[in-house]
């Protein structure tokens, strides 16, 4: 499975390469191009130089040897071997590249040579001329490295052969030197290139990076960031668009905050009004209605005491009993409306009493657990909200869930209060909730929580029971206020 493998490799490579930051990318490209160009040029120049110099070298070898052959013709013909030897030595001393020179007669015997002492015999047959050819150059592997041996026939080969051995050390040194210079230049230009690239990159990417920061700030909700416009190019347009967008978002956010504030005020007002109304009604019930009923009971008792007609007595007792029942109901209603116990004894106790009341009234098993509220009181609006929430939640459980058991868990930690109300009832389809349906009062619960900067989390499903999680944060001021 070759293709997917290579595709995968390419993908991984792209992730790696693409993930490098933009400044490194630009510098990398510049550097890469400079180095590539430098190396390519160096290579090409080296090849060209090598070709040219070796061609010249060949020509020089041929020319030198042909000259030697021409000048050695007469000395050989008149057998002036001294002159021949001098000719070879002069040739060698004039041209430092020449490693050796020697003359062969037409039978292949050495007439003169430039070696000190003896002569390396293998050299004779290492090269030669074909018929009376022009010149023949070949490379020889010697113990002193590679040498270029040229053979030229003397007097059309009738008299002998001239042989010259040249070393290409100088050529190679020149080529290496030029290559070295070019590479050095490449390095220097790379350094200059990097510097220029860094500068260029900074200029190009600074606005981009600024935009990145600005966008991230917007993502965090900070709409105050504005980016300075640097140039009149695409990035400049992007900057303008961003700034406009930030302006719009800031304005929208301001509007939203304002609306939110208004809404919160409104809801707060509604809830406060509700509480005030409840308080007023509770007081009314407690003050006037209860009193009236008590008076009525007392009057009926007096009536029953002072009346000797048994029928009338029984009726009066009956009425007194009804009044007493009514008084209880009113009392209970009053408590429900505004439990003073909440103000006096605190949330845990109020909840306990409410739970006890519910247990008694309905056949529902309710567990209650409270943690962290033994010593400290919560701020009153949180206590009120929690009380109302739990009240509403329990009402839902009783009315809608057909549950057997319910549990309430309240925990105060350093940063928040958590209230969990769970039941094992029939639950409901979460996606089908109409939050504004007064039926479940979930809207009210959520609003009360959100008014206090908290949140409601709902977990439910058909036949899966229902769990309500209410978290209300505790501010630092609150903590401080309790110390």
């Amino acid at each position: 499975m070759n293709i997917p493998y290579s595709r995968r490799f390419l993908d991984q490579l792209w992730v790696l390469v693409g993930g490098v930051n933009i400044r490194v990318k630009i510098i990398g490209i510049v550097l890469g191009l400079v180095i590539l160009l430098g190396i390519a040029v160096t290579w090409q120049v080296r090849q060209l130089l090598s070709h040219t110099m070796y061609t010249q070298f060949f020509e020089q070898a041929t020319a030198l040897t042909r000259d030697l052959a021409a000048r050695s013709t007469d000395p050989i013909l008149i057998n002036d071997l001294y002159e021949l030897q001098r000719l070879l030595q002069d040739t060698q001393s004039n041209q430092p590249n020449i490693r050796y020179a020697f003359i062969l007669d037409k039978e292949g015997y050495v007439l003169a040579h430039t070696f000190d002492g003896g002569f390396p015999e293998e050299l004779i047959s290492a090269n030669g001329v074909t018929d009376s050819g022009y010149a023949y150059t070949t490379t020889l592997n010697t113990t002193e490295g590679q040498l270029w041996d040229t053979a030229v026939p003397i007097f059309e080969g009738r008299v002998g052969t001239a042989r010259l051995g040249l070393s290409d050390v100088q050529v190679r040194q020149t080529i290496d030197m030029v290559t070295g210079q070019l590479l050095l230049t490449t390095v220097m230009v790379s350094v200059i290139g990097i510097t220029a690239a860094v500068f260029l990159t900074w200029i190009l990417t600074h606005p981009i990076l600024e935009l990145v920061d600005a966008t991230q700030a917007v993502g965090r909700g900070d709409f105050s960031y504005r980016v300075t416009r640097w140039a009149d190019d695409e990035i400049g347009k992007l900057t303008d668009a961003f700034n406009t967008m930030a302006d719009d978002l800031a304005k929208a956010e301001a509007d939203r905050a304002e609306r939110e504030q208004l809404r919160a005020q409104y809801v707060h007002g509604v809830i406060t009004a509700q509480e005030d109304e409840r308080k007023r009604i509770a007081r009314e019930l407690h003050d006037s209605t209860s009193q009236s009923l008590t008076s009525m009971m007392l009057g009926l008792k007096a009536l029953s005491d002072s009346c000797y007609i048994p029928e009338l007595q029984k009726r009066a007792e009956e009425l007194r009993r009804v009044a007493g029942q009514t008084l209880d109901d009113v009392h209970s209603l009053s408590l429900q409306l505004r439990p003073s116990v909440l103000d006096d004894l605190g949330l845990p106790e109020a909840i306990r009493r409410h739970v006890a009341d519910c247990r008694k009234r309905n056949l529902l098993d309710i567990d209650l657990a409270v943690q962290g509220l033994e010593d400290k009181r919560l701020p009153s609006e949180i206590e009120t909200a929690l009380y109302r929430i739990i009240q509403e939640a329990l009402t839902n459980v009783i009315r809608h869930s057909e549950a057997q058991t319910a549990s309430i868990f309240i925990e105060k930690s350093k940063t928040q209060v958590l209230a969990v109300i769970e039941d094992d009832g029939k639950g409901f389809d979460q996606s089908a909730i109409d939050w504004h349906d007064g039926h479940l009062g979930l809207y009210g619960i959520r609003e009360r929580a959100e008014l206090l900067s908290g949140q409601l989390t709902l977990e439910t499903g058909i036949d899966q029971g229902t769990s309500l999680y209410i978290e209300i944060p505790l501010t630092a001021e609150y903590e401080y206020s309790l110390e």
Binding site: T73, L77, F115, E122, A126, N141, T143
Partner: protein
């Protein structure tokens, strides 16, 4: 996609291929120096022919090649051409028997005859005669008319003992009551007649004296010479440069050689060889033909 990538890589590699070829074969040790082998003569002993340095060694080798081939064919022996820089050396070779037969200059023969009995084998014939002249030449644009006009000028001699190239012009100077060393501003030896001709033609020398046969032959090969040099004096005829052998040569060999030369003009290869040298044939000649030259040689004092 992949194939085009491979193609690209291949092109780059080819384009970058190095120029300098790498050497193959065994490694030669330049430090292992052995003495050169001694040469032994194997097989048939060649006939050794020497030609005096009348013209340049290369010119000699070229011109005489056909003659040597002819002799080799006729005598059924390999021929070896031996050349030396000076006439004296050639004389020495003949005297010692180091060469068997030599083509020498007139004065070299006369000296050799007088000193060790150099033997005249045959003499060339040109235009029906076995004579030649010494020609005094100057550049065409020169105003020189006679030897007298060459006073305080540069003069080119050929070989120190050349008759036409040194002896005769010295004789001319002596006849003016002078000596070449003081008469001419400067003199030098070219050691060959065609080089003397070209020295004058190229303006290196204001004048020279050369072998007339060589001069005619040079004109034939290079007609433009006529525009560059002219002859101002032609000597009386003297005996032509002969073919000589050592006096100690075995008679049988001597006869064979003589016959080969004398019958040369009767064979096609021989004729071709003669033409290459600008000669008609070889004939017998008596020593007395060289007496006129001998007289002048004896009169002339050649300073070394």
């Amino acid at each position: 996609m992949r194939y085009s990538l491979y193609l690209l890589i291949a092109l780059v590699v080819v384009g970058c291929s190095s120029y300098a070829p790498t050497s193959q074969g065994t490694v030669i040790d330049l430090a292992s120096l052995q003495p050169l082998p001694v040469r032994y003569n194997e097989g048939v002993i060649p006939l050794r022919v020497s030609v005096a340095a009348v013209i340049s060694p290369r010119g000699t080798a070229e011109s005489y090649q056909l003659l040597l081939d002819y002799l080799s064919e006729v005598l059924d022996r390999p021929i070896e051409l031996v050349q030396r820089r000076t006439y004296q050396e050639t004389n020495d070779l003949i005297e010692s028997g180091a060469v068997d037969i030599a083509f020498v200059c007139t004065s070299a023969y006369i000296t050799g005859y007088d000193e060790f009995g150099m033997a005249l084998l045959a003499a060339p014939q040109v235009n029906g005669e076995s004579v030649y002249h010494s020609l005094l030449i100057v550049p065409t644009d020169s105003s020189v008319q006679t030897m007298q006009d060459l006073e305080d000028k540069v003069f080119a001699f050929t070989d120190p003992i050349s008759y036409s190239g040194r002896v005769y012009p010295t004789y001319l100077v002596q006849k003016l009551g002078r000596v070449p060393d003081t008469f001419f501003a400067r003199t030098f030896f070219t050691y060959s007649h065609d080089e003397a001709i070209y020295s004058v033609a190229d303006g290196l020398a204001n004048g020279a004296a050369v072998d007339s046969l060589v001069y005619d032959f040079a004109l034939e090969r290079d007609p433009t010479l006529a525009d560059r040099v002219r002859v101002i004096h032609r000597s009386p005829p003297f005996g032509i440069p002969p073919v000589v052998v050592s006096p100690n040569m075995r008679p049988r060999q001597r006869v064979l050689l003589q016959e080969a030369l004398l019958t040369m003009h009767e064979t096609s290869t021989g004729v071709a060889a003669l033409q290459a040298l600008g000669l008609d044939r070889f004939t017998l000649l008596d020593d007395s033909a060289y007496n006129s030259a001998r007289e002048i040689i004896n009169e002339v004092e050649l300073l070394p």
